[in-house]
Symmetry: C2
Subunit: 331 residues, 2 copies
DNA sequence: CTCCCTCACTGTTACGATTCAGTTAGGCTC
DNA sequence: GAGCCTAACTGAATCGTAACAGTGAGGGAG
């Protein structure tokens, strides 16, 4: 049945169904403006089922000039629980639309060679794509969706309000009576692009609430170093009594450091994280944190991508993704 | 310069360099058995650089009958820190060989439609691919690498000795004086395929060391439920004094549960996890665990894949990946 | 009866790369 | 100087799909 090669092609299906290959293509693609009789359609679909025909992604991509891949460009940062979750959810969501998600670190290869080579159906970026690449992709008709830090710079962006996250951290601490706020920053310089807007939010909230500016300290993922930071906050005059951590990992490290120097949360130092890590409920004490609701974000991003592939028009102005406070015991 | 369409093709390069398109292809692929003069080679490469030519992955895939994608089939399980890390490391490693990693949940789509559609350069599987699919892929010349549970059933497998992991957990507990062992199993039924060999290792080690069979209890990711399990172990007669957790997440939940009922590790109940999660050092007390060295595994898997694509022959019998004990304080 | 229109298809080309099977031009041998 | 060989190329077929541009049959209008 199958031609000389092993593969079952649309031509094989056509032969089996007694129609032309063109007709097979029309049936399978529900081609608009083409009248196909019900009997023919049935014959084709039966032949497809019988032969187990599966269209070749490569041939389709060559013909259409675009593949069914979605390229996600990641900042060159170790993925934490939250980013991994986003990638996972997004992959599942896109899969429902027959799209495959490919992730690449921005750093490793020039971005242009990637998209020119893969002809992705869409590109998903969070940061650091050059203006030329943006222009090139636009010229090639590739929709670019950015999960944003700064919604202003990118047209088709889905903002995560990083500043809002920082704001909410401070508001929680202020609401529980803390007036002198600390900020636990991770050491990795690569995270700075995420760190800065969050910290800006913290600063802004402090200013608005009439609090002193936050005392920023590095808290690396190391209990001993974190202990030093905890001690420094605690023994400051006036003492820092509430700390916003960059994320839950940093918060875990800080809590471990505090334990070393005999401090406990929230009594000596209240701690609030970001991400709602899977392990956050098991921290000592259970970690109060900000959930950025990546499941919702993933759904929206997927819809935005699918929409911009189909319509070829920019969808409605993207809404900011909700962010919620998860109160446990650490703050 | 570029033909009517936007894309720069090999034909454009050929025109620019004043040679045939065939020659361009030979130069770019370093075609063996083809003599290309140095001057021609230079002309072609100059034209490539000048035009910014990037070969079309789709066209190449169509011609060669195989793409540059590596398909990783995942069991339908929420990805934890360790699996996410493996995926990340593997992606980076494969990227160095111009391969792109695509992950898919086994459950969602029939596997056959996936590989027939994508024509991947290789398939990476850990579990649950049907015999027909295996045969089909073999027939299509797609190398299948399995990161193994059971090295016996798959020919080109890279075994992670899950049983060895269980064994090492028990050995650690026995070495620190524990004689009555518990096993903290996750609730998700999907994890059973990983759970069973680990538990088998635990059972075997207990038997060999002359200990009673392990007391297996469900420990879901919920502190209250984990507390019940902890209490049950502690109040058994004779009491269970050391628990092997399925993984670090389960261990975190168990430690949280113990805290609720006033038990502490390792005094009342020693706890040992698996995975060496990023947060394991920050557990209370810091979590003793088994590191399955996924970075090493990722490197080996990548090499195995690249090797089997290139040689088309099965590489040397794969060695089992080292597994190591990380001693902290919980056991 | 002729003309035209619609329905339901089919023939053929193009997408961009790889590669088999030639085809020159020049040098060497006898 | 005829014959042969090799180096250094080029022409054309091919992979599987999509879709443009027909094509014949049947029916209705005039």
């Amino acid at each position: 049945m199958a031609s000389r090669s092993g593969r079952v092609t649309a031509t094989d299906v056509a032969r089996e169904a007694g129609v032309s290959q063109t007709t097979v293509s029309y049936v399978l693609n529900d081609a608009p403006h083409q009248k196909i009789s019900e009997s023919t359609r049935r014959k084709v679909l039966d032949a497809v089922a019988k032969l187990g025909y599966q269209p070749s992604a490569a041939a389709r991509a060559l013909r259409l000039g675009r593949s069914e891949l979605v390229l996600m460009l990641l900042p060159d940062v170790p993925v934490g629980d939250s980013l991994a979750t986003l990638v996972e959810l997004l992959g599942d969501e896109l899969e429902r639309h027959r799209l495959s998600l490919i992730t690449r670190r921005t750093q490793h290869a020039p971005v242009s060679s990637l998209w020119r080579e893969l002809m992705p159906a869409a590109v998903l970026t969070s940061l650091g794509v050059s203006a030329e690449d943006m222009a090139g992709m636009r010229a090639a008709g590739i929709p670019v969706v950015s999960v944003e830090i700064d919604a202003a710079t990118h047209p088709l962006g889905l903002p995560i309000h990083q500043t809002l996250i920082g704001r909410m951290q401070v508001e929680r601490l202020a609401a529980t009576g803390h007036t002198r706020i600390g900020y636990a920053a991770p050491r990795q310089p690569r995270l700075r692009d995420f760190l800065e807007p969050r910290l800006a939010g913290v600063r802004a909230a402090c200013a608005e609430l009439g609090l002193e500016a936050p005392a920023v300290l590095d808290v690396p993922l190391d209990a001993a170093a974190a202990a030093a930071a905890a001690d420094q906050w605690h023994s400051a005059v006036p003492a820092v009594t509430g700390v916003c951590a960059y994320n839950d990992e940093t918060a875990f490290a800080l809590l471990a450091g505090m334990r070393r120097v005999g401090l406990s949360a929230p009594g000596d130092l209240a701690v609030i994280g970001v991400d709602n890590d899977k392990l956050a409920p098991f921290a000592v004490p259970p970690l109060t944190t900000i959930d950025n609701n990546l499941d919702i974000l993933a759904g929206r991003v997927a819809r935005l991508i699918v929409g911009s592939i189909a319509d070829d028009t920019v969808s409605a102005a993207p809404q900011s993704v909700p962010v919620s406070l998860v109160v446990r015991e650490s703050a």
